[in-house]
C-alpha cells in the first residue's frame, strides 16, 4: 500500500489537488479574494508536487500507480516518464503565472461569471496533469476528452452569439475528431497489440507498414488538439475567449496536450525503430511541413493580433509534429524542448495581447501604432517573446529549433532544415513588424473619448515579465531539459 | 398441373394464406379504426388455421386414448390456439376500448380525420 509521500501517492495527490480546488472554489463565490487565493494555492501546491516527482524521474525512476481495471487489458493507470514529466512541469508552472494574469485581466475587464471561470480552469489543469501522467491510451483518452469538455465553458465565456458559434465549432472539431479517429485508433491498437499500455520501444512491433501508416494518420488527425491542418479551424475560432483562456489554450494545456499526445504515442506506442523501419512516418513529415509553412503564410495575412498568434501557434505545433514524424532520438528531444520553449514564448505574446486589449481596447495590429511609448514593459516583453519564437539567441526558442534541425539531418531530411529556415524568416515577417510599429511609429492623435493610454494592470505586468524572463532563463537551462528528455531512451532503473 | 393439384390438396393452407394477406391488407388500407381491428382479427384467425391444419393427422382419430386406435390427431396445437384466441379477444377488446375513447376525444374514428385534427409534428 503506497503512502502519501511515495511517488505513487504523489501522483494521486497531484491529480487530486486541481480537482479538489474546482470543488472548493464555488464555496467562495461571494469572496473573490479568497476564491482567487484558492486557485493560487492550488497552483502552487500542484507545482510543488510536480517538482517533488521530478526529482526521482530525473534519476531514471518511473513512478507509477497501477490503477483501476475497466475492461480486460484496459485500465485507468498512471506512470511518469520524462516527456510527461516535462509537460506536467510546464503546465503546472504556467498555471501559477496564468492565474496571476487572470486576476488582473478578469477584474480589469469586469468579466462576468468569474467563479465558473476559475472552476473550469482547475478542471482543465487537472485533466492536463491526467494526460501528462497517463500510463496507457485509455487514461490518456479519458483525460483528453475531459480537457475538451472542461475548456468548452471557457471558450464560450462571453455567451454571445459569436462565442456560442465558435464554441460549437470547437466542440464539434475536437470531440468529433477524437470520436471518429482517435478512438478507433485506440481500439485497433488494442486489437493488434493486446494492450494499450505505453512501453518504451512501442507495442506495435511486427505490424505491417501500410497499417502502421494508416494508424498513425488516425492518431495524428484524431488528436485534433495538435491542430494539424486541415483540422486546425478550432484554434482561430477559440480566440473569441478571454485572453487568459487563449494563453491557456495556446501555451499551457490544450494545444500542448495535443502535440504531447502525438509525440508520446509515436515514441511509446509505435516505437521509433518500428516506425522508421516501416517508413510509415514519411507522409507525416511532409504533411507536417506543409502545415508549418501554410499556417505561417496565413498568419501574415491576419490583422487581428490574436488571430495572427493563433496561426503562429498552428505553425509552431507543426514543428513538434514534424519532430515526432522524423522519428529519431534527436528530433524527439527537439520536439520535447519545443513544447517547453514555445510554451513560454507564446504565453508571453498572448499576455501582451491581452494587456493591450485591457489597457487600450485595441485588437487589430494596424491600430497599434506607437503604443510602445505608452506600454514599454508590455512591448519589450512582446519583443522578447517574438525573438524566442523566431529562434534567436539568447532566447529559449534557439535551442529547440537547433535540435530539431539536427534531428532532421540525422533522419536524412535536408528539406526539413530548409523548411525550418524559411519558417523562421516568416516568423520574423509576421512578428517583428508589430514591435516595430509599436516603437517606431508615432502615436495617432487621441480622438475625443478614446481610452486613456496607460500600461496594463499590475498582475498582468508581473505575469508577462515572469514569462519573458523564463524565455531567457530557459536558454541557459536548456541542458537540464535535454538531460531529462535523454531519459526517454535510457533504460529505466526502477519503478515505484 | 402438379402445382394446381398441390394447391387443391392443400386448400386449407390456401385459405389460410388468403385470410392472412387479406387481413393485413385491411389493416393497412382502411382508415376506419373498427375496420382495422376487423382486419387484425381476420389476420389472427388465419394463424389459428395455420396451427390447427397440421394438427389433424391423416387417418388419426380424436385424441382420446383408446386401445382400438393407434393414430391420434395432435391436441397440442389446439391448446396453443385456445391461448392465442384468448389473447386475440383481449387485443380486440382493448382496441375497441381505445376506439371508443378516441371517438370521445376527437369525434371521429377515422385515422386520417384524427390526424387532421392533431397533425403529426
Amino acid at each position: 500500500m503506497s503512502t502519501i509521500a511515495s511517488p505513487a501517492g504523489l501522483i494521486l495527490l497531484a491529480l487530486a489537488v486541481p480537482f479538489a480546488a474546482s470543488a472548493v472554489i464555488p464555496l467562495f463565490r461571494r469572496r473573490p479574494n479568497l476564491r482567487e487565493a484558492v486557485t493560487l494555492i492550488a497552483a502552487a501546491v500542484l507545482f510543488a508536487l510536480v517538482l517533488a516527482i521530478a526529482g526521482p524521474v530525473m534519476g531514471d525512476a518511473r513512478p507509477q500507480w497501477a490503477g483501476i481495471q475497466v475492461l480486460p487489458g484496459v485500465a485507468i493507470a498512471f506512470q511518469v516518464e520524462p516527456l510527461g514529466m516535462l509537460f506536467a512541469l510546464v503546465a503546472s508552472a504556467l498555471w501559477i503565472v496564468n492565474s496571476i494574469y487572470s486576476i488582473g485581466y478578469m477584474r480589469a475587464n469586469d468579466e462576468p461569471r468569474q467563479t465558473g471561470y476559475y472552476v473550469c480552469f482547475a478542471l482543465a489543469l487537472g485533466s492536463t496533469i491526467g494526460i501528462a501522467f497517463s500510463a496507457n491510451l485509455f487514461t490518456m483518452f479519458l483525460f483528453y476528452e475531459a480537457l475538451t469538455l472542461s475548456t468548452f465553458p471557457l471558450v464560450t465565456h462571453h455567451r454571445d452569439a459569436e462565442a456560442m458559434r465558435s464554441g460549437r465549432l470547437y466542440l464539434l472539431l475536437l470531440l468529433g475528431s477524437s470520436l471518429l479517429l482517435f478512438l478507433p485508433a485506440i481500439i485497433i491498437t488494442f486489437m493488434l497489440a493486446g494492450t494499450v499500455r505505453f512501453e518504451p520501444g512501442g507495442i506495435l512491433a511486427g505490424t505491417g507498414g501500410t497499417l502502421l501508416a494508416v494508424l498513425l494518420g488516425l492518431y495524428v488527425f484524431g488528436i485534433g488538439k495538435a491542430a494539424v491542418m486541415p483540422l486546425h479551424r478550432w484554434l482561430p475560432a477559440a480566440m473569441v475567449a478571454p485572453t487568459p483562456v487563449s494563453a491557456l489554450l495556446h501555451a499551457v494545456a490544450v494545444v500542448k496536450a495535443g502535440v504531447f499526445c502525438v509525440v508520446k504515442i509515436v515514441v511509446y506506442v509505435f516505437g521509433l525503430e518500428t516506425l522508421a523501419a516501416a517508413g510509415a512516418n514519411d507522409w507525416l513529415v511532409y504533411v507536417g511541413s506543409a502545415s508549418l509553412l501554410l499556417a505561417s503564410c496565413i498568419a501574415l495575412t491576419r490583422d487581428n493580433l490574436k488571430a495572427r498568434l493563433a496561426y503562429s501557434t498552428i505553425s509552431q505545433l507543426a514543428y513538434i509534429v514534424v519532430g515526432a514524424a522524423l522519428a529519431n532520438a534527436t528530433s524527439i528531444a527537439g520536439s520535447g524542448l519545443h513544447i517547453a520553449t514555445h510554451a513560454v514564448g507564446k504565453i508571453t505574446l498572448f499576455f501582451c495581447a491581452g494587456a493591450i486589449y485591457t489597457a487600450l481596447h485595441k485588437t487589430e495590429i494596424s491600430d497599434m501604432a506607437g503604443i510602445g511609448r505608452k506600454m514599454p514593459v508590455t512591448m519589450t516583453a512582446f519583443l522578447i517573446g517574438s525573438l524566442s519564437i523566431i529562434g534567436l539567441p539568447p532566447f529559449a526558442g534557439t535551442w529547440s529549433k537547433w535540435v530539431l534541425a539536427l534531428g532532421a539531418l540525422d533522419a536524412g531530411y535536408v528539406s526539413v532544415v530548409a523548411v525550418l529556415m524559411i519558417s523562421s524568416l516568416l516568423n520574423v515577417a509576421y512578428l517583428l513588424p508589430i514591435v516595430a510599429r509599436a516603437f517606431f511609429l508615432p502615436l495617432p492623435e487621441p480622438s475625443a473619448g478614446a481610452a486613456k493610454l496607460q500600461e496594463a494592470p499590475a498582475p498582468c505586468l508581473v505575469a508577462l515579465c515572469v514569462t519573458a524572463a523564463l524565455c531567457i532563463v530557459l536558454f541557459f537551462q536548456a541542458g537540464v531539459i535535454e538531460n531529462l528528455l535523454a531519459g526517454i531512451f535510457a533504460s529505466p532503473s526502477s519503478t515505484g | 398441373m402438379e402445382a394446381v393439384h398441390t394447391l387443391i390438396n392443400h386448400y386449407n393452407y390456401v385459405i389460410t394464406i388468403f385470410l392472412m394477406v387479406g387481413g393485413l391488407y385491411i389493416v393497412i388500407a382502411r382508415g376506419n379504426m373498427v375496420k382495422k381491428l376487423v382486419g387484425l382479427s381476420i389476420f389472427q384467425t388465419s394463424v389459428y388455421l395455420l396451427f390447427i391444419s397440421p394438427a389433424k393427422i391423416l387417418g388419426g382419430t380424436a385424441p382420446i386414448l383408446d386401445p382400438a386406435y393407434s393414430v391420434y390427431s395432435n391436441p397440442l396445437p389446439h391448446v396453443l390456439i385456445l391461448t392465442a384466441i384468448v389473447v386475440g379477444v383481449a387485443t380486440i377488446a382493448l382496441g375497441l376500448a381505445l376506439t371508443v375513447r378516441i371517438n370521445e376525444a376527437y369525434g371521429t374514428i377515422d385515422e386520417d380525420e384524427v390526424l387532421e385534427k392533431d397533425p403529426e409534428p
Binding site: L180, M191 | L80, L115
Partner: protein, 497 residues
C-alpha cells in the same frame, strides 16, 4: 429456505402477477401504490439471487408444475437472461419511488389504481419473457406485457396518446402474430416448443425442411423486429414514448424493446445458430444494414426535434440500432457489445427520461424552448441529464464508452473497417443532439417557463441520481456488466469466435 430458493424462477413471475390481481381490487391510488412498491422492490432481490446462482452454478432449469420439458413448460435461466431479468427488475424498482408523485401529477385519481395494476402486469410480462424457456410461453408473456403497455401509454394526459396506443396496438399485434407464425412453423418441423429442445432438433429439421426453417427465421425476425422497433418498423415508438406518462416512458424505454431484442438474440443464436452459422445467413447482413440505417436516420431526425421527449425517443431507435448491429456482426466482441449496451442503454435512457419526467412535473413541458437555462434552476436533475447524455455520445468514463468499445472491436475483428467508422460516426450525431440540448439547458439565460422550476422532491430525485451514478460507476467498474455480457456472448455463440 432452500424450498423458497428452488421456487424463485416461478416466483419471479408469479409475485407481480398476484400483485396485479391484488391491486385490481384496490380502490385508492395509495394502497395500489404501496403494493406495487413492495412488489417492485422485491423483484431485484429475486433476480439478483437467480443471476448469482446462474453465474456460479450454471443454468437453472425450473419445471413449471413438475412437468418434464419438453412436454412441460420450463423456465431456463442462464447468465444471459439472468442479466436481462436483473435489468428489468432493477429499472422497475428504481422507477417506483419516482412514480409516487409523477403518477399523482399526470394521471386522474380514479385511474391510478388501474395504472398500477397495468404496470405490474407489464412487469410480469417482461420478466416472464426473460425467464421462460418455452417459445409459446414467451408469446403469451409478450402479449401480456404489450397489452398492458398499450393501456399504460393510453393513460397519458395528451389525447394524442390514444392514437399512439392504438397504432402501437396494431403494429405490436401484427408483430406478435408473425412471431407466432414462426413458432408454428418451427413446431411443425421439430415437434417441440422448448427453446433448448428446438435448438437441438433444428439441425436435423433444416436438413429435411430447409425452406420451412428459413421461413420461420424470417417470420420471427420480422415479428420481433416490430416489437423491438428495428428500423423501419419503428414507426410506433416516437409517438408512444412522447405522449405516454413520464414514468411509463422511462420504464418502457429501458425495458420493453430490450426484452424483445433478448428474445431475438436467443432465437438467432440459440435456435437457428444451431442449424446454420448465423454470420453466413443473409439475415445477418440485412440486420446489419437496417441497424446502420437506424443509427443514422433516427439520429438525424432526433437532431431536428424540438420536443426533448421526442428527441430521446428517436435517440432510442438509434441506440437500438447499435444493439442489433452487434447481433448482425455476430462475433464475440460484437455480441458482448450488444448485450452490454442492452444494459447500459437502460441505465442511460432511464436517467434521461426520469430527468425529463422531473422537468415535466415542475413546469409541465418538455419542449426545448421552454427549458432554456433550466440547468441553473434544477442543477442536480440537469447534471444527471448531462452525464447520461455524455453516455449516449460515448464519452470515456461512462457506460456508453464501454458499449462502443466492444462494438468497434467486434467490427474490426470482422474486418469491417467501414462499420468501424460508421459506429463512431453516428456518435457524432449523438454529440449534435445532446450538445444542442446541453447548450440550451446550461448556456442560455433562464426563460420564463424555466424560472418556476426547482429540483424535484427527493423521492423523484433519488432514482435519477442513482441512475446517473450507475452510468459513471459501470463505465469504470465493468466486471458486472461487461464481464457477464462476455459470458453470455460466449454462451450464445457456443464456441464460435
Amino acid at each position: 429456505m432452500s424450498q423458497l430458493i428452488a421456487q424463485l424462477p416461478a416466483l419471479q413471475v408469479v409475485v407481480p402477477l398476484l400483485g396485479a390481481v391484488l391491486v385490481a381490487f384496490c380502490r385508492g391510488g395509495r394502497t395500489a401504490y404501496f403494493v406495487s412498491l413492495l412488489v417492485s422492490l422485491l423483484m431485484p432481490v429475486v433476480s439478483g439471487l437467480l443471476l448469482w446462482q446462474a453465474i456460479i452454478a450454471g443454468p437453472i432449469s425450473y419445471h413449471l408444475g413438475g412437468w418434464q420439458p419438453p412436454w412441460g413448460i420450463e423456465y431456463h435461466i442462464d447468465v444471459f437472461n439472468g442479466l436481462v431479468l436483473m435489468m428489468v427488475s432493477a429499472v422497475g424498482a428504481l422507477v417506483m419511488p419516482f412514480a409516487w408523485r409523477s403518477v399523482a401529477d399526470e394521471i386522474d385519481e380514479d385511474k391510478q389504481a388501474w395504472f398500477y395494476c397495468m404496470y405490474l402486469l407489464c412487469l410480469t410480462g417482461l420478466l416472464g419473457i426473460a425467464a421462460t424457456g418455452d417459445a409459446f410461453n414467451a408469446f403469451v408473456f409478450l402479449e401480456i406485457s404489450s397489452l398492458s403497455a398499450y393501456v399504460l401509454i393510453a393513460l397519458g394526459r395528451d389525447r394524442r396518446a390514444l392514437l399512439a396506443a392504438f397504432r402501437y396496438l396494431i403494429m405490436g399485434t401484427i408483430g406478435a402474430t408473425f412471431y407466432v407464425i414462426g413458432i408454428g412453423l418451427l413446431y411443425v418441423v421439430t415437434g417441440s416448443l422448448n427453446i433448448v429442445d428446438i435448438g437441438s432438433r433444428i439441425a436435423g429439421a433444416a436438413a429435411v425442411y430447409p425452406h420451412a426453417v428459413i421461413a420461420a427465421l424470417a417470420f420471427i425476425t420480422v415479428g420481433l423486429g416490430l416489437k423491438l422497433a428495428l428500423f423501419p418498423l419503428h414507426v410506433w415508438l416516437p409517438n408512444a414514448y412522447t405522449y405516454a406518462p413520464s414514468v411509463v416512458t422511462a420504464f418502457m424505454a429501458a425495458t420493453a424493446t430490450k426484452v424483445a431484442i433478448y428474445l431475438l438474440a436467443r432465437f438467432a443464436f440459440g435456435v437457428f445458430g444451431q442449424a446454420f452459422d448465423f454470420r453466413t445467413l443473409p439475415v445477418a447482413d440485412i440486420i446489419l444494414v437496417l441497424s446502420v440505417a437506424a443509427m443514422f436516420v433516427a439520429a438525424f431526425v432526433a437532431i431536428s426535434e424540438t420536443d426533448l421527449k421526442r428527441m430521446l425517443a428517436y435517440s432510442s431507435v438509434s441506440q437500438i440500432g447499435y444493439i442489433t448491429l452487434g447481433i448482425g456482426i455476430a462475433n464475440k466482441p460484437g455480441l458482448t457489445g450488444s448485450i452490454v449496451h442492452l444494459v447500459n442503454h437502460a441505465m442511460m435512457k432511464g436517467a434521461l427520461f426520469l430527468a425529463l419526467g422531473a422537468v415535466v412535473y415542475r413546469i409541465g413541458s418538455a419542449r426545448l424552448s421552454d427549458l432554456a437555462g433550466i440547468g441553473r434552476r434544477m442543477p442536480w436533475t440537469m447534471t444527471a441529464f448531462t452525464i447520461a447524455g455524455f453516455g449516449l455520445i460515448g464519452t470515456p468514463g461512462t457506460v456508453g464508452f464501454i458499449s462502443k468499445w466492444y462494438l468497434v472491436a467486434g467490427a474490426f475483428a470482422a474486418g469491417q473497417w467501414v462499420l468501424v467508422f460508421l459506429i463512431v460516426g453516428s456518435s457524432l450525431l449523438a454529440l449534435v443532439y445532446v450538445g444542442r440540448a446541453v447548450e440550451v439547458i446550461w448556456f442560455r439565460d433562464t426563460g420564463p417557463a424555466a424560472a418556476r422550476a426547482t429540483d424535484p422532491p427527493p423521492s423523484m430525485l433519488a432514482p435519477i441520481l442513482l441512475l446517473m451514478a450507475a452510468v459513471v460507476y459501470f463505465g469504470v467498474e465493468t466486471s458486472l456488466t461487461a464481464g457477464i455480457a462476455e459470458r453470455a456472448a460466449a454462451l450464445l455463440l457456443g464456441g464460435l469466435p
